[in-house]
Structure formats: structure tokens, C-alpha cells
């Protein structure tokens, strides 16, 4: 069942299906056949999630959020991979996968809860097959592999995908997740967004060779894809998921992309990287190339682009409104959901605190 040699091939080139200039290119192993409608729909997602992100950054600036981790520049990696998932597949995000959340149907306002500080995660993972954001770097990789082992035991035709960063590749947990996935041939896709930076540390501080090659050392295939090319991300992820679902085991996808913004809203990248780097990457913007493609091939007109922009405008306004309306949690919620079953110490502390608070009212 296990085909250990799959991972050992000579390193393939970076997979690209759409150039920064919006030209479709062919790739011997990966191709994708998209209807104009599908391309427009991908474009719409890219634009809308960028808008969600910009709005969140603005909300943080206005003090409505405590912090925000921007996905700016990584839209194609997230929409491409997110759109490759079926409903039955399960996704495990970091704290930056707002685009994937979008694809999974999570209301963006729910993402804001965590960053506003009203909860630590505001959606039911089972409802969207989209796990909670995970902040401890790399720990979600093991959850995803365990989940995939569960899929295996259930004998169902689905897969898990886990997102992590270039920095995360150094964590013990991430490498242990490679061991487990390989040994159990688990139906999982490892989706690493190499955005070149882990806060202030460039990728060279995590690896001296391309990250996708890590996989071969564990006995499964790794592939590098242009992370700013939504077509390629979709095609490569789709293939890896199919492999996983059909018993071919794990794949590591390295989406080569760029974190165009700060690490989070509290970060100041001017301290550690030069402006020219950002300028170079702007030329590879994940949205612009789809727009060019649509334009050049006359698959969309100005009215279409305007309507998407208008939709983004509305989305932003709605998000802003609903964010500021989010009520503060009640102090007594501190004691909720610590345990699923009754717990005497929690009850004791709950009562004591309630009495204490009441003392102020009298």
C-alpha cells in the first residue's frame, strides 16, 4: 500500500500555471481546466479575502481589535488550496488562514472574535470542517495527522490538510507529524506557506535547502508551487488531496509566497527587511495576475471588476459594523467550558466570584 519511493524523485521545479503577467503556462504534471465562471469566482474570493484582511487591519488601528495577523500576499495560496477541499475534508489552520476560513464558509466576523479578545475561537470546527486557529507554532500538525488516522479508521473517502509556516518547519511537532504521517500512510496534505519570514527571521534561519525537499527525507513527496498563483495552488493541492484520499499517503506542498505586510499589526518590518524586497514581490501580486488573465482573455469586463469591488466594499462595511457591535463577554464566562462535565473547584470559584461581584452592587 505504501509506495515509499514516491518521495525520492529528483526535485521538480516550482509549479506555475499562471505567470505574474497573467499568461497561462503549461506544466507536464499539473494542469487545470477552469471554466471562465470558475476563474471569475476565484478572482472574487481573492479580492474579498484581501478586503476582509484590510478591514481587519483597519479595525485594529482603530482599537477594535487587539492584534491582527494579515494574510496580505498569501491570498492565492489560501484560496487555491482552500478551494481544492471538498466538504468532507478537514482543514487545520494556523492563525493566518483567513482565506481558507473563507473557503470553508466561516463568517469572517467570527475570525475577529479571537483578535478582539472576546473568545479564543468562535466557531464550531465540526460545522465547517475547519479547525480552530492554533497559535502554538506547529502543534496543529499532530492534531491533523491524528485526525487523518481517524479518517483512515473510518474508511471514508476524505483527507485532512494542515497549514503551517516556514518557521514552523523547525518545530519538533512538525517533524514528528511527518514521521507519523509517513509511518501510518495517513491521508493528509501538509501545506506549508513559505512566506519567507518568521516574524523577523528570514527562511535561511530555518533551512538551508528548499523546504519541500524535507518530505523526501521522511519518505513522501514534496513539491514546490508558486504560492502567488491561484491556479497552480488549486491544481497541486487537488492532486495531493486525491492522492491522500486514494490511499497514496501524505504530500508536502511548499507554497512559495510572501508576507507583504507586517507579521502582525504590532510588528514593524522596517526593522529587519529592506523595502526593495516588498517592491519585487508586488510585481508577483496574486490578484493582479488573475485580473490580467481575465482581461486579456476577455473573460471579464470592467463591470465585473466594479461589481466585485462594490461587493468588497459592502463586505468591509458589514464586517466593520458587526465587529464593533460584538458584545463584551460577561465576566462569569470565565468559568464556562473549562470542563465538559461538572467540576467542583470551578463551581466553588464561580460561586465565590459571583458573590464577590455582588458585593460591589450592594
Amino acid at each position: 500500500m505504501t509506495d515509499a519511493s514516491r518521495g525520492a524523485d529528483a526535485p521538480p521545479e516550482l509549479v506555475q500555471l499562471l505567470t505574474p503577467e497573467g499568461e497561462r503556462v503549461e506544466h507536464p504534471d499539473y494542469d487545470i481546466d477552469l471554466t471562465p465562471e470558475e476563474v471569475r469566482s476565484l478572482y472574487r474570493d481573492l479580492v474579498l479575502v484581501r478586503r476582509v484582511d484590510l478591514e481587519a487591519v483597519a479595525l485594529q488601528r482603530h482599537g477594535e481589535l487587539g492584534i491582527w495577523a494579515s494574510l496580505l500576499g498569501q491570498e492565492a495560496a489560501q484560496i487555491g488550496s482552500g478551494r481544492a477541499l471538498t466538504d468532507a475534508d478537514m482543514a487545520f489552520p494556523t492563525y493566518r488562514e483567513h482565506g481558507v476560513a473563507w473557503c470553508r464558509g466561516v463568517d469572517p466576523v467570527k475570525l475577529l472574535g479571537l483578535f478582539r479578545g472576546v473568545n479564543h475561537g468562535g466557531w464550531d470546527p465540526a460545522e465547517h470542517n475547519f479547525h480552530l486557529y492554533t497559535i502554538v507554532i506547529g502543534s496543529q500538525n499532530l492534531h491533523a495527522v491524528g485526525y487523518a488516522m481517524g479518517i483512515q479508521r473510518d474508511g471514508t473517502n476524505s483527507a485532512a490538510i494542515v497549514y503551517f509556516g516556514d518557521g514552523a518547519s523547525s518545530q519538533g511537532d512538525v517533524n514528528e507529524s511527518f514521521v507519523w504521517a509517513s509511518v501510518f500512510n495517513a491521508p493528509i496534505v501538509f501545506f506549508c506557506q513559505n512566506n519567507q519570514w518568521a516574524i523577523s527571521e528570514p527562511i535561511e534561519k530555518q533551512s538551508r535547502i528548499p523546504l519541500y525537499r524535507r518530505a523526501a527525507g521522511f519518505g513522501f513527496p514534496g513539491i514546490r508551487v508558486d504560492g502567488n498563483d491561484v491556479f497552480a495552488c488549486l491544481a497541486v493541492t487537488r492532486k495531493a488531496l486525491e492522492d491522500a484520499r486514494s490511499g497514496q499517503g501524505p504530500t508536502l506542498i511548499e507554497a512559495f509566497t510572501y508576507r507583504m505586510g507586517a507579521h502582525t499589526t504590532t510588528d514593524d518590518p522596517t526593522r529587519y527587511r529592506v523595502a526593495s524586497e516588498l517592491e519585487a514581490w508586488k510585481l508577483k501580486d496574486p490578484i493582479e495576475r488573475v485580473k490580467s488573465y481575465l482581461f486579456k482573455n476577455e473573460l471579464a469586463d470592467q463591470a465585473f471588476f466594479d461589481s466585485i469591488d462594490a461587493e468588497a466594499e459592502d463586505l468591509g462595511a458589514d464586517l466593520r459594523k458587526r465587529c464593533t457591535e460584538m458584545p463584551d463577554p460577561d465576566p462569569m464566562e470565565i468559568f464556562e467550558h473549562v470542563y465538559a462535565l461538572p467540576h467542583s473547584l470551578i463551581e466553588e470559584e464561580r460561586k465565590a466570584f459571583a458573590a464577590y461581584l455582588e458585593g460591589f452592587q450592594s
Binding site: 475561537g121 491533523a144 485526525y147 511537532d173 514521521v179 507519523w180 470542563y339
Partner: protein, 326 residues
């Protein structure tokens, strides 16, 4: 009634749990063909297959982390940590993930994961094989922490732990694995709720509080004290978090003197919480301060020294004497 060792009682308990619920899995290092280094999972892989009794790669974070994932998919994994001293590579998965995910999800996620940890010293082992790390977990909100002390409890508590919808850290007193007792495996009527303490020997003059391996030592101390005309009550806590304060305080209020016994170093150990909480709640009933007997504030020593390091009958009775000197 069957006579079972503590180790076999755990084995039978897990077997029952696996029969009752196909979602129950066993996972860990050497738990399959070998049946674990203490044979606690002996025969289970043979009967339930490799998909339910999983020999994992050698990495504790991986064991607990993937167990969490399996629980997210609806399974109820029972993880074995081979020895107490090897739980620390899994600390992050236990403390930051297992304990906190239920709250993180506002209750949407339940993680019925049991982490079994053979604990404590007294078996002449090398370093890292005799630790008592309970205080690291009792301080971690979101976990339930229990410790069995005898075969009957081992049998019933492991099944209750597996049934629990909350994660449970399950301590097994490794030097008591070979102790035998009658266990009624035909009924559940006699089961004590998982989080209840039990007075295992009634007494009037002072209370000895213990859990896991030290319960037996305390019972021996109480027997010895009787000859000196002192009547010691022994409370087996069974559950460390939540703590059954009702039964504990009741005993303390009756006797007015308390000695807490555990193997872990006294400084910052679980006994500190007991002493602090007892004192706060039973202040006017205490004839003397709550005293603690435990390991010294040193790493666990080489085995030739462990009999001096571990609380024994003499050190317990010495502390009892001291409570009478106040």
C-alpha cells in the same frame, strides 16, 4: 470476584472499555505485541487489532498530539507514557492543547483522551523512571487528574476515565503493579465515582492524606501507630483535580491533625495545595499545622538511595509525632 494484580486490573478495565465502545483506542510505545513494558496492555492488540492498539513511533508529543486529532474525529484514545520521566516532551500538547481546547472552542470540542502515566519510585530503576510529576498537571486547568492505589480502583477508575468527556491524566503507582486483590468484574454497583475520595482506614487522632503508591505506606504506618496507641485515619484522595474537599475536610475536622504524604518533592508539590486549602477551610479545627512528608527538593536520587528519599513508615510516624508536639 477475581484476584487481580493492579496491572491486570487495568488491563481488564481497558478490555471492558474497548468491548463496550469501538471508538476506544490504545496508543503508545511498545503497547502492542509487547503489551507495554509493564504488560498493562498485554493481549489487547492480539484481540482488538493493530488499528485499535497502536504501536506508535517513539515520540511523546506525537503520541498525545495525534491522540488529540483522533479525539477530534470522535475516537477515545488512551495513551500510555512509558515512564513518568518521559511525559515532558509531551508537556506542550498536554498543557497548551489537551487542557485548553474545550474552552478554546467555547465547548464545541470535547477531548476524551486518557493519558496513562506509570509513576513513582521504589523499583530500583535508573534516572527518569521514578518521577512523580503530578503537580505539573494538577496546576493545569482543564485537565482532570486521578491516581489509583489498588486493583479494584484501578479497574473501575480506568473505565471511568475512558468514559469521561474531559481529558484525564491517569497516574498508576508502578511499584504497586504487582499487588493483588479481589476485584468484582461482574458488576459496577460497587464503583466509587471517579472524583470521590475515600477513607480507607478510619481513625480519630490524626489524618494521613495520600494517593497512589503512598496509600499503602500510610496504611502500614497507621497499623504501626495503632500499636503505640494512636488511631490514624487514612484518606485515599483518588482524585487530585477536582479534589473531594468534602470528604477531606470532614476527616480533618474530626481529627484536627494532618500529615500529607507523597513521593514528589515537598517544595511546590501537590501537598502544598492540600495544606493551604485545608488550613484555609479548617483553621479553627487544626491543633497543629498541616505537615508534609515527601521527596526532598533534589532530583530523584540513584536507586541505592531511594529508600532514604522516599517517604516511609518511620518518616510518616515522625511527622505524626511532630503534629502532636505542637
Amino acid at each position: 470476584m477475581t484476584i487481580l494484580t493492579l496491572s491486570k486490573a487495568l488491563n481488564e478495565g481497558m478490555r471492558k472499555a474497548m468491548e463496550a465502545d469501538p471508538k476506544v483506542l490504545i496508543m503508545g510505545e511498545d503497547v502492542g505485541k509487547l503489551g507495554g513494558v509493564f504488560r498493562v496492555t498485554d493481549g489487547l492488540q492480539k484481540d482488538f487489532g493493530e488499528d485499535r492498539v497502536i504501536d506508535t513511533p517513539l515520540a511523546e508529543s506525537g503520541i498525545v498530539g495525534t491522540a488529540i486529532g483522533l479525539a477530534l474525529r470522535g475516537y477515545r484514545p488512551v495513551c500510555e507514557i512509558q515512564f513518568d520521566g518521559f511525559v515532558f516532551p509531551a508537556a506542550d500538547q498536554i498543557i497548551s492543547q489537551l487542557a485548553k481546547m474545550h474552552m478554546r472552542s467555547l465547548g464545541a470540542i470535547k477531548l476524551p483522551v486518557v493519558v496513562r502515566i506509570p509513576c513513582g519510585g521504589g523499583i530500583g530503576a535508573v534516572e527518569h523512571h521514578s518521577e512523580s510529576p503530578e503537580a505539573y498537571f494538577t496546576h493545569t486547568a482543564g485537565l482532570r487528574v486521578v491516581a489509583c492505589s489498588n486493583p479494584a480502583d484501578a479497574y473501575s477508575m480506568i473505565q471511568q476515565a475512558i468514559q469521561s468527556d474531559d481529558p484525564v491524566i491517569f497516574f498508576e503507582p508502578k511499584r504497586r503493579y504487582w499487588e493483588k486483590a479481589d476485584v468484582d468484574t461482574s458488576s459496577t454497583d460497587w464503583w466509587t465515582p471517579l472524583h470521590e475520595a475515600r477513607v480507607v482506614r478510619p481513625g480519630a487522632d490524626a489524618t494521613l492524606v495520600a494517593y497512589g503508591p503512598m496509600v499503602k505506606t500510610c496504611l502500614e504506618a497507621a497499623t504501626a501507630a495503632e500499636e503505640d496507641g494512636r488511631s490514624l485515619e487514612v484518606v485515599d484522595l483518588r482524585s487530585l483535580n477536582p479534589l473531594d474537599t468534602g470528604r477531606l475536610f470532614d476527616s480533618v475536622r474530626r481529627t484536627g491533625r494532618v500529615v500529607i504524604v507523597h513521593e514528589a518533592p515537598v517544595f511546590g508539590g501537590y501537598g502544598a495545595e492540600l495544606a493551604a486549602r485545608i488550613t484555609e477551610n479548617c483553621f479553627y479545627h487544626l491543633e497543629s499545622p498541616v505537615l508534609r512528608v515527601g521527596g526532598f527538593s533534589t532530583p530523584y536520587p540513584p536507586s541505592k538511595l531511594e529508600e532514604h528519599y522516599l517517604p516511609d513508615l518511620d518518616r510518616i510516624l515522625d511527622a505524626v509525632d511532630r503534629t502532636f508536639a505542637y
